[in-house]
């Protein structure tokens, strides 16, 4: 087995080894990870083709026969709800002459009929019919051997993940220390969450890692990139000392991280009262607060009272925002509404990502609560989101700066280091200015990129 980081298994055409790009020990990452087409191709093979990838939410395909089409890396897949109710993820490529068997983004169909030569598949992937089978193939075609390629599927609180790695870790193992916290974000209520509607999709001329890294643990940029919200009085004036209220939580071995919100515990009020307050901040509809209390263990509840997960990335490119954000002036007085926005940074090419952005709302919330939650997502994060507008502008600018000969020699700097904070909870905690946590993303990236056998996945 290759030692991760030895780098004797893959070199760029100029002789540079992949592990020289993510110099985590020196706290430097080469900008070439953002601009090198060869790096991108290797990411497709060694990351996107190997690990658990987010492909959609169960509520997008609520009924038998429902489907949506998605991508794993650059491979088109169909996500279906089979007759027996379970979820299937199938390569959208006919086994005959590789035409796309489904050309819609969503719909309802129990079969997919290839429009080229008429091979027809069940929504579980099995080849069911072949046009003029007896005439063309006689008895030489065994349909059982020609199912659509099927990915392995894992579901967490309605979030559907898939991987081509049939022998790798389970989704639960892949989540690692994040599983505990994802329960607090996505799994609080019995009936769970649903999408408000189909996702925003738009193309941003920037490498996918810029967004994934930003959402994993970059709290510092908020004060500059998103200044408008303070300038218009929507957010209180931020000053650096306020960053002290935030905590980074990560699973450094797996590359996942998130930023946790301020502590809400006030010694003067009862635990019950505090719990209700935190539920409100976390977007739990009032009618469901008791249910959440009953469903959570003491440990979960204590963690929940300490820290609300606000924004994070599951390596490599699934991110979420679980936050309260003001988007009209009135919110500065009455309090900002909650939103849970989930997103995928789909890699189209080394220079281009497609952002997919959904709003999740509680299934049992009132129509009015759902509307407010969805509006909060799209007005702040999404194609027209007033926060995301500025992020996309900045990321596009970065991409322009790393194309040149000099730009490609630059190193991204991660000098800020902070000690690990003991918490007794899952994951590694650090103060929110720690670049150590951001470097965890690239440590994991390097581990996968230098592993030609797939042992690290």
């Amino acid at each position: 087995m290759n030692e991760p980081g030895v780098g004797d298994d893959w070199f760029l055409p100029d002789g540079t080894s992949v592990d020289e790009f993510a110099r985590v020990e020196d706290r430097l990452v080469a900008t070439r990870v953002l601009s090198d087409p060869e790096i991108f191709e290797l990411e497709m093979e060694r990351i996107f083709d190997r690990v658990w990838m987010f492909v959609g939410h169960e509520s997008e395909i609520p009924n038998r026969g429902d489907f949506v089409t998605r991508y794993i890396g650059r491979d088109p897949v169909i996500v279906t709800r089979g007759d027996e109710g379970s979820v299937h993820v199938l390569l959208n490529v006919c086994r005959h002459r590789v035409a796309r068997v489904c050309n819609a983004e969503r719909g309802t169909s129990v079969t997919f009929e290839c429009p080229y030569h008429g091979w027809t598949y069940k929504n579980t992937g099995q080849l069911r019919g072949v046009l003029a089978q007896r005439l063309v193939y006689g008895d030489r075609l065994d349909k059982a051997e020609f199912s659509l390629s099927r990915a392995r599927v894992g579901v967490l609180h309605g979030l559907i993940f898939a991987t081509w790695n049939h022998d790798g870790p389970s989704l639960d193992e892949y989540l690692g220390d994040m599983a505990f916290y994802y329960d607090l974000v996505f799994g609080l209520t019995e009936n769970g969450m649903e999408v408000a509607g189909p996702p925003h999709r738009w193309v941003v001329p920037a490498n996918w890692k810029l967004a994934a890294e930003n959402f994993s643990a970059d709290s510092l940029h908020t004060m500059k990139a998103h200044r408008y919200a303070q300038e218009l009085g929507l957010l209180p004036e931020l000053n650096p000392s306020m960053l002290g209220a935030l905590t980074l939580v990560s699973d450094p071995a797996r590359g996942h991280a998130f930023i946790g919100g301020p502590l809400h515990r006030n010694e003067d009020v009862s635990e019950q009262e505090t719990f209700e307050g935190v539920c409100a901040v976390d977007g739990v509809p009032r009618s469901l607060v008791d249910e959440v209390y009953e469903r959570t263990s003491d440990e979960t509840r204590q963690a929940f009272l300490e820290l609300v997960p606000m924004v994070g990335t599951l390596f490599p490119n699934f991110s979420w925002l679980n936050n309260n954000i003001a988007h009209v002036r009135e919110h500065a007085k009455v309090g900002a509404p909650h939103t849970l926005c989930i997103r995928l940074y789909h890699p189209r090419s080394v220079n281009e990502m497609e952002i997919w952005s959904w709003a999740l709302v509680h299934k049992d919330a009132s129509p009015e609560e759902k509307l407010v939650s969805a509006r909060t997502a799209l007005r702040t994060f999404g194609s027209s989101g007033t926060f995301e507008q500025d992020d996309t502008e900045i990321w596009s600018g970065i991409q322009l700066g790393v194309r040149g000969v000099q730009g490609r020699k630059q190193m991204n700097q991660y000098p800020a280091t902070e000690p690990v904070m003991e918490s007794g909870r899952p994951g590694e905690r650090r103060p929110c200015t720690a670049d150590d946590t951001l470097l965890g993303f690239y440590r994991r990236w390097r581990e996968l990129m230098t592993d030609h056998r797939g042992d690290a996945s």
């Binding site: 819609a104 189909p198 925003h200 218009l232 799209l378 500025d390």
Partner: protein
Amino acid sequence: MTSTAPRHRDRRVRMSDPLYAEVLEWLIEEAEFLDGHEFEAWLARLAPDLTYRMPVRTSTYKRDGDGISTGYFHFDEDFESMWVRVHRLTEASAWAEDPPSRTRRFVSNLRVATVGDNEIEALSYLLLKRSRGDAGTYETISCERRDRLHRVDAETLLLGSREILVDQSTLGVTNLSMFL
């Protein structure tokens, strides 16, 4: 007004009607305000009870409907949220529009119908070309806009509602920092 609302073909006015000219002038002037970055002037033309929506669109087989979402939107705005979006551009740090984009809005294929005493339906096509920085290429949005204009007095029309039917399911723009 939702995407399923009927278009009032039977109540359309002729292009030679003075109302048609009035609405066309209104839309051309709106484009002038937006392309000229006169956002306050544009805001003054929005009704206090404005609804402004741009549904997400998906490609679906014909049997599965029109693919126009009734649940999620690129824009889902009212007057207050438009106030924030406008003032973000005019008085706050908005890196997406500073330096500002150069935009050109081409308004065409206008159809006008009277749908009430003080209510006008205006359907138009919009082609927006956006130039950013020193890029040699444009970002483009093409869409149909389904508007309701309120007549306030003989001189004044306000935008009461707008539904924007964009032609792309995946938008080919870095962001929607511009109004449609």
